[in-house]
Amino acid sequence: MIDYRRRMRANLAIAVIGLVLFAVFPLVANSGLVFLAGLVAVNIVFGLSWNLLFSGVGLLSFGHAMFFAGGAYAMAVVSLRLPDLPFAGGLLLGAMTGGIIALVFGYIALRRASGVYFAVLTLAFSELVHIVITKTTFLGRNDGLVGIPRPVINLGVASIDLTSALAYYYFIIVAMAVVAFALWSFQNSPAGRLIQAIRQDPVRTAFLGTDVRSWQLTAFVLSGTIAAFCGAVMVPFAQIASPEIAYWTVSTEPILFTLLGGAGHFWGPAVGAILFGAIDYATRALYGLSEITVGMLLLGVVLLMPGGLLGFLLSRRTAARRLTGSGKRVPMANAEKAT
């Protein structure tokens, strides 16, 4: 029997520790690194949203950029054209944009395709979204929408000024920690467990009276909503929404984070996103070697650590404990899946 309450406490602790580490980071790092850390925080949740689909219901999405860009552009348009709308309204609209895209696309696609076909379909749709953005004057075409203001949140009695990059950074990390923990709670709720059962054995789950498709669609919409929320949160930080964020290479990012960190662990994508940020930073002054460096590194991880970095570390720890004979089972979050 797994002690859920203890696991909940442990994962809440992980989210809080992560938050604290991100919070003290600006004390020791310069503004470029803080900006990168803010992007990494967004990427962590972007990766988690993707893994909800992949490890959750076993759907491989190659088009998560369309949700991210959907949320980002919705937020950009709202901030530039409806400046009177409260900031929370923009976030909500951004997240909903992703949810709606996911609902429409998922409703059609999940009835028809699965596996690699589903992946290519998401890729094709996402490319279409990219092209539509580059052709829509309202969305700034190829040049994107620039000069997006950061908000001042009015709470009646007091107001929170998020116009500086640092203040907004703190908003990002709090928002991302909350969403990440909410996502963990969802995955460990009865609904979340049902979704995982679908992945492990769709036929048997269906036999037990579950409507597999509608649960897959639910997960898809949830994943799209969260990815779009990430895009919406990122836009006032970067102050630009450009078509690059809808390009297919952005869709590969959450996949890389997840596999690098470890798909079998809830926090795997988080580890991967942080690692990727570090690689990005380390290769920032290399001439013409960044493709080959990233490529080799990824190949190395996939070949030598197929469970990702987290899987590799945890399995070593397990092995070490077994060797010392303590016999105590390590509580690994969602780690029972073979990868």
């Binding site: 992949f54 491989l60 059609i108 696609a109 028809r112 395709a113 596996g115 690699v116 076909y117 992946a119 290519v120 379909l121 890729l123 094709a124 749709f125 490319e127 279409l128 092209i131 052709k135 297919w248 590969t252 996949i255 890389l256 596999l259 798909a263 013409g288 070697l289 493709e291 080959i292 460096t293 990233v294 490529g295 080799m296 590194l297 990824l298 190949l299 996939v302 070949l303 197929p306 990868t339």
Partner: protein
């Protein structure tokens, strides 16, 4: 009338160039069930190898030398396929498909990086051999001979692959493994070897396609990505690794792209994607469906 004729001709050229790239991709997809991102990268390496062979012979080339360069590229890239199977694909056979997908994506990055290091970033251009550098007139319609050559290569590649898959011992073995690797193993087939042969053959096709198409477009480290999505579309629309399906899909998508551009010129390059999405929604298992493999 001339316009329609040319539009069909251009559509065929698009389709056959894409089919040449997609043929090896289809083969590997049918047997190993992975979409090989690196295929685009090795196609590009094939084009660059052929270019180097051509330079080694002084740069001007008769048709036979052009073909020799293409075949040399096929052999060289096939050899790389042998290494890739031994070092990478074989190790990933028992993990989820997503990992192979990521491995091939990583390999694509390595290919791009390697091309930059070996051949540099400059754009290169190869002209077709003199024998293929003219125009054939059909009434008022003008058809460049090199374009005719590409279409012919595509059709020949299709016929060759059909004969190989349907009428040779190796082809039959490949079909058996594609249908049911577990059963094939029980029957005592050397599945591992058949996988290796498939991968090498698929890579060799990528290299050959690179060599044949070297004069079709400019060479640069971007080349790997240019045909990739097109080739993916053709493989998927064709259906689970079906060569015949891919051939039909290539012609179909080529025509859609070509006529789309003809009738709605204000949206260039979008018809292929729209067609891909629509076809997959109507018939997600692809033209040749699931039952027929390889």
């Amino acid at each position: 009338m001339v316009d329609i004729g040319l539009t069909v001709f251009n559509g065929l050229a698009w389709g056959m160039a894409t089919f040449l790239v997609a043929a090896g991709l289809t083969l590997i997809f049918g047997i190993l069930h992975i979409l090989n991102f690196a295929h685009g990268g090795f196609f590009m390496i094939g084009a660059y190898v052929a270019y180097s062979v051509m330079l080694a012979f002084g740069g001007t080339m008769p048709l036979w030398l052009y073909l020799v360069a293409a075949i040399a590229a096929g052999i060289a890239v096939g050899g790389m396929g042998w290494g890739v199977d031994k070092l990478i694909l074989r190790r990933l056979r028992h993990v989820e498909d997503a990992y192979s997908l990521i491995a091939t994506y990583a390999l694509l990055l390595v290919c791009v990086g390697a091309v930059q290091l070996v051949w540099g970033l400059n754009y290169l251009s190869v002209m077709p051999p003199p024998a293929l550098n003219s125009v054939v007139f059909l009434g008022d319609m003008f058809m460049p001979t090199y374009t005719i050559f590409i279409i012919a290569c595509g059709i020949l590649a299709f016929i060759g692959l059909e004969i190989f898959i349907s009428h040779t011992e190796m082809g039959r073995l490949i079909r058996v493994v594609a249908a049911d690797p577990w059963m094939a193993k029980l029957l005592g087939l050397n599945v591992r070897r058949i996988y290796l042969v498939t991968v090498v053959f698929s890579f060799a096709l990528a290299g050959l396609a690179g060599g044949l198409l070297m004069a079709n477009q400019s060479l640069s480290p971007e080349l790997g990505g240019i045909f990739l999505l097109q080739a993916f579309g053709v493989v998927i629309v064709g259906g689970m690794g079906s060569i015949r399906g891919a051939f039909i899909a290539a012609i179909l998508l080529g025509m859609i792209e070509s006529f789309g551009t003809y009738f709605v010129p204000q949206y260039p390059g979008i018809f292929f994607l729209v067609a891909l999405a629509v076809i997959l929604l109507i018939k997600p298992e692809g033209i040749m469906g699931k039952e027929q493999t390889a």
